[in-house]
Amino acid sequence: MSDRLTINRRAFIISSAAVGGGLAFSLDLPFDPTVARAADGAPELTNWVVIRPDDTVVIRIARSEMGQGSLTGLAQLVAEELECDWSKVVTEYPTPGQNLARKRAWGDFGTGGSRGIRESQDYVRKAGAAARVMLIQAAAEAWNVPASECTAANSVITHAQSGRNTTYGKVAEAAAKIEPPKDVTLKDPKDWKLIGKGVKRLDTTDKTNGKMVYGVDVKLPGMLNAAIKDCPVFGGKVKSFDAAKIADMKGVKKVVQVGDSAVAVIADTWWHAKTALDALPIVWDEGPNAKVTSASIAQWLKEGLDADTVFVGNQNGDVKAGLAKAAKTVTADYAYPYQNHATMEPMNATALYTADKCQVWCGTQNGEAAYAAALEASGLPAEKVDVYKHICGGGFGRRGRTDYVTQAVLVAKQMPGTPVKLLWSREEDMHHGSYHPITQCRLRAGLDDKGNLETLHIRISGQSILTALVPSRLINGMDPVTFQGLSPKGEAAFGYSVPNLLIDHAMRNPHVPPGFWRGVNVNHNAIYVESFMDELAKETGTDALEFRRKLLAEHPKHLAVLNAVAERVGWDKPAPNGVFRGLAHFMGYGSYTAAAAEVSVDGKKVKIHRIVAATDPGYAVNPAQIERQIAGSFVYGLSALFYGEITIKDGRAEQDNFDTYNSMRISEMPKVESIVMPSGGFWGGVGEPTIAVAAPAVLNAIAAATGTRYRTFPLKNHGLTIA
């Protein structure tokens, strides 16, 4: 309660309700001034729970929804402990400005790294439990009976002895005045009723009838629209532009420079803005990177495969001695390209700037980061800025960046008092990605005379995301995220036990901006390791499953998911005629994943018949949504494997749109059978882990079918397509 008494009341009076997104607080009387209230006057029990007189339960969600379903999962976590009627649950986003004003009452807004559920589950469950305790106590006080004699279920509080009952809505007002308990006991997982149940999403209906308002759909009175072009060469700048040439074009209001690298046209409609921008002569100062090509980057990375200066991410034994005494050594070089997120909704944000206020409406994976960007770009004090989040039309990591928010505010600042929606064209979105980083990898194995893997050196050469985006998380210059799935321990641990092991990174950071791309570094790390494991199994004449089983003996959870897919796919029985199988396993984001693929190959056409995928996320809050995340991972991951590549020429991205950056269609989609096998005792992620095994399982099946081991990607460069 003390937390709520010390808050700055002024901060609650925010008139943000104009366009969905945020909740609006008001503390206007006649209500009891010690109770925080939602805009409609309904009392707040804890920061996370508002209960209206009609029994509607409003659950606040701090993390962003971008399709992954955690909005529903987080509500399940609260509702489980609250013991409320699930059919009466609605959700709303607090704004980052409100979060700041209330000393981060809702914690971290960041929604990346598959941490929406796993890093909030503890405090949101406690918030639900605290609200339940308060509601019961309020009813008990009204009845003058001990709270211990009352029970709560389905939003109804019952005192069995006296046969009385009441509803949450009726006692919420009194409950909100009660001091929230400091300590609450959470349910034993075996008693969960709602957690673990594949209930339907809370946000589906409006996505089927056109009513869902994404950032791109925001409408404000008097709003103008802006189209933008940033220097196509990353790091380049605007030299000059000839605004007079387009001043007379229909609808054009203003042509503005945005920062030092971009130009925007503001017009009545976006179509007019874009049409005028396309006609605007712009001269760029392309800077020092204007001659960089994919070939020059590849050459630089290749040198890293032999470099002496490296960061060591995982090491045991003596690799040098191990290789020297090996009966046989096997070496293979792999390479993985730049890829764009290509969210279906291109980057956009709407901003309204006046001398004493800056408001932003947008989809973002990190409301607080978007707020910080708006704060910096506006130059206004913190209490005069806020961001209203909208459901994201895809995120995959891209909307964790805030470049588009900064741009929108810089544009709006040049039209004070007029809201301006900035929308990137698909071409702009393709040219200014925050790309999946580029790497190459050399794997070198030492086998003894019995074919045992005694020594393994994995050298990664390439880009560090943290260096570009979060240098504060580097450890003495080393980027630990580079070693996702290859780490000695932790949430992305390497599962294979090898007596002499060395995994190191020759950091090479080209000028092309890297970013967190669904799965991030597990994508290529899993391809490198799991392809090479199959190469070694073949080299030693061992079955691919048996070869792995032996090396995974010390990592039973890694092994369990692998065994599960092998059993389901029928690994011990022959595949259908003409069909070949591949396996892969990996760990990332605290979860264990494995996949088995069945493919047939006709010339260069690969038919993916069937995928069996298993995940052990510790606890499975909503298995139905986890299955959808798994199936979706194969679309995103296999689109990347077959088609995904951003190439660089003259310092810029060569691809413009989906005609040159293809994505899998329904005809190419394999049947995905999911095995959700939570083993309990830990909380792993869901949105990303499974993507790691999508590509290597299929690659291993293709190698089994064709005898050809593909080591550079995407596969379209080898003429392969999905049948």
């Binding site: 399709g67 999403r201 589906t204 089927t208 056109g210 994404y214 179509w271 279906m344 199936a631």
Partner: protein
Amino acid sequence: MARLVINGQTHEVDVEPDTPLLWVIRENIGMTGTKYGCGIAQCGACTVHIDGVATRSCSMPVSAVEGKQITTIEGLALNGTPHPVQKAWIDLDVPQCGYCQSGMIMAVAALLKEKPKPTDADIDRAITNICRCGTFQQVRAAIHAAAASA
């Protein structure tokens, strides 16, 4: 000035004849259920029906659709009752981010009109919309569910 019939209502809009229908629907008429995804008729997020035929509105000049019956996602339900495709989408919890689903649903509704009981091969041929979340498995199941319910 163009005269458009959208979801049974006539709209007079002051736009250049080559303006893509998508932007007229979104900006001049103000219905935002139809989405922009690529602008080059690749992704299908902008799919609407023109005289019942699924059409990518981002690449359709407004001058070409005057006098035709245009249906958008907002006009698919009949008198407030969700279209069988919308119902199947809700029943099977199809959307993830949902951004492509207006176009997907419109494409499927047109397919079912032409082929009330489509085979998987029919679906593969007719539905070429991009979904980056990868909802295809649920989309296929929901198409069959919608077909079965009709």
